[in-house]
């Protein structure tokens, strides 16, 4: 691997940030321009949404169950086992549901997008598309971004519900708490701010997953090895970015909503 001077390294990174920003802005702007690739968007929504459903169902259920299992032990010590529904509910809806779903979808789809677009790039299919008079940004990137944002929103809702269900099963069958009490406390504790925070995040995470996946795919260099590298980088970058954005967004929304 070629060694770069610090100046060249910084220039490369700055260029990458500029290219990513341009791609991200264009992907949104193209959603309001013709031609609109509705069929491609629906196809991607099916691939991303329904394709990710099994892992989202499994992780949602297990995270909710694990959260209940871990917190029940602590709550029992303080004689507050009845609060378990509230704890699982707030934890899942505000934080764990969006972030776990985001990371799962990033692992599955950012890699898929990077490898698919990367393979198209190295086999000159992207150039062929441009040569045929079609804008790859409109045809390939925008449908993926729109589909991921749209589907991740609903996948997160499914994950939240299944997490709550997993928590209910654990608290009812292992700790003998009342099923109805669990659900009524879980429901009552939630306020608008919690739900808003929990549903705001998947919109941003979906955007990050799709744009990062497409960016690394469209910038793959060095044949099949380069495609492999782009795939790995897409998963790592999107996962890290999701965690960082989650932290910043949580703090921002907590400040806006004046959480104590």
């Amino acid at each position: 691997m070629e060694l770069l001077s610090p100046a060249e390294f910084a220039k490369d990174k700055l260029q990458a940030v500029q290219d990513y920003t341009l791609l991200a802005v264009q992907s949104v702007a193209n959603a309001f321009r013709r031609p609109r690739y509705l069929a491609d968007t629906v196809y991607q929504a099916d691939l991303i949404g329904f394709g990710s459903l099994p892992i989202v169902v499994l992780t949602g259920l297990s995270i909710g169950a694990e959260l209940a299992l871990n917190s029940a032990n602590t709550l029992q010590r303080f004689g507050s086992l009845s609060l378990i529904g509230q704890l699982v509910s707030v934890g899942m809806v505000r934080e764990l549901g969006p972030i776990i779903t985001g990371l799962m979808v990033a692992g599955r789809n950012a890699s898929g997008m990077a490898s698919e677009l990367g393979s198209m790039l190295v086999t000159e299919q992207i150039d062929a598309m441009r040569a045929l008079g079609t804008d790859p940004m409109k045809k390939l990137v925008t449908p993926r971004v729109v589909a991921t944002v749209f589907m991740l929103f609903f996948l997160t809702i499914i994950s939240d519900l299944l997490g709550l269900f997993g928590g209910a099963v654990i608290s009812t069958f292992l700790y003998q708490t009342d099923w109805h009490q669990y659900w009524s406390t879980a429901w009552q504790i939630l306020v608008f701010q919690d739900v808003f925070m929990g549903l705001m995040k998947p919109l941003l995470f979906g955007f990050i997953i799709a744009t990062i996946g497409c960016y690394y795919g469209l910038n793959a260099r060095g044949g099949t090895q380069g495609v492999g590298r782009a795939t790995t980088q897409a998963v790592v970058a999107s996962s890290v970015l999701i965690l960082v954005v989650d932290l910043l967004l949580t703090k921002l929304l907590m400040t806006i909503f004046a959480y104590q």
Binding site: A128, A131, L132, G133
Partner: protein, 282 residues
């Protein structure tokens, strides 16, 4: 496809009647990572002519095609395609211009997740308000031109290298472009398949009078094109009689170290005194 002229001889004569340039390169320079790739490239492609571009690997032949298509921008110089200056042209306008140009890529570059029908019809399906039924006939005609009508529902991975190249030609010609760009269309193919591809290019040149730039390593392919015409009666490529050779709309361009060292016809090429070119063509 429109009805072609009745004889190949008529075609050969008519190609020289109108000759506004389809492609003009004027003092084009391009560097990659600080190293000059093209230095002062200037040439003209008259309407109806096919120009074969030669040069050793890495001499910038394929880059010339990508420049003509506006896929990459030169560092300096002027490029005019179909009468429009493409330097500084926004990408949106370039997409409109590219719809009048067909390109056959080195490795075909077919969309591997689409069937042959979808690949060939890609350009038509991208237009608004065009249904799959409407594109059926043009697709059949384009595939019939390359004699691959029976492959419509196959995927590119199910085709041989030569068949993929022919599908790429069908995809390039379906909208009857004014300019065709061929990037090593016979590269990596056996001699029989190469001849089939060359025959299709000659057919496109002589029957539809399409201007084209052809990048190739195989000198014999270009000589075959310069010495043959397409006979519609036999539906085959036929050798020209010695007196008619100069009427073939065929030019040659040889690159060396990023510069053009030869630009002329087959007669001039055969009588050149340049040592490098003589060695190259021997």
């Amino acid at each position: 496809m429109s009805a072609p002229p009745s004889t190949a001889q008529q075609t050969l004569q008519s190609t020289h009647e109108v000759s506004p340039e389809v492609v003009v390169f004027d003092d084009v320079h391009l560097s990659f990572e600080g190293k000059p790739l093209l230095e002062g490239i200037s040439f003209r492609l008259p309407r109806g002519e096919t120009k074969a571009i030669f040069g050793v690997a890495g001499s910038g032949k394929s880059t010339i095609l990508k420049l003509a298509l506006g896929l990459i921008k030169p560092d300096s110089g002027r490029i005019t395609v179909l009468g429009e200056d493409i330097i500084g042209m926004p990408e949106e306008q370039l997409f409109d211009l590219r719809r009048k140009i067909g390109m056959v890529f080195q490795e075909s570059a077919l969309f591997d997740s689409l069937t042959v029908r979808e690949n060939v019809a890609f350009r038509l399906l991208e237009e608004d308000n065009v249904s799959e039924e409407e594109v059926e006939q043009p697709v059949r005609e384009a595939l019939s031109f390359v004699e691959l009508e029976n492959t419509v529902d196959m995927f590119p991975s199910e085709l041989s290298g030569g068949m993929r190249r022919r599908v790429a030609i069908a995809r390039a010609i379906i909208t009857r472009p004014e300019l065709l760009l061929y990037d090593s269309p016979t590269g990596g193919l056996d001699p029989v398949t190469s001849t089939t591809i060359i025959e299709l290019i000659v057919k496109q040149r002589d029957v539809y009078k399409t201007s084209s730039l052809l990048v190739t390593h195989r000198l014999q392919d270009a000589f075959v094109m310069a010495n043959h015409y397409f006979d519609r009666k036999t539906n085959r490529m036929q050798p020209l009689s010695p007196g008619t050779r100069s009427e073939v709309p065929m030019g040659f361009l040889i690159l060396r170290d990023g510069k053009i060292i030869f630009d002329g016809d087959v007669h001039e090429l055969a009588h050149t005194k340049d040592e490098y070119i003589r060695e190259y063509i021997s």
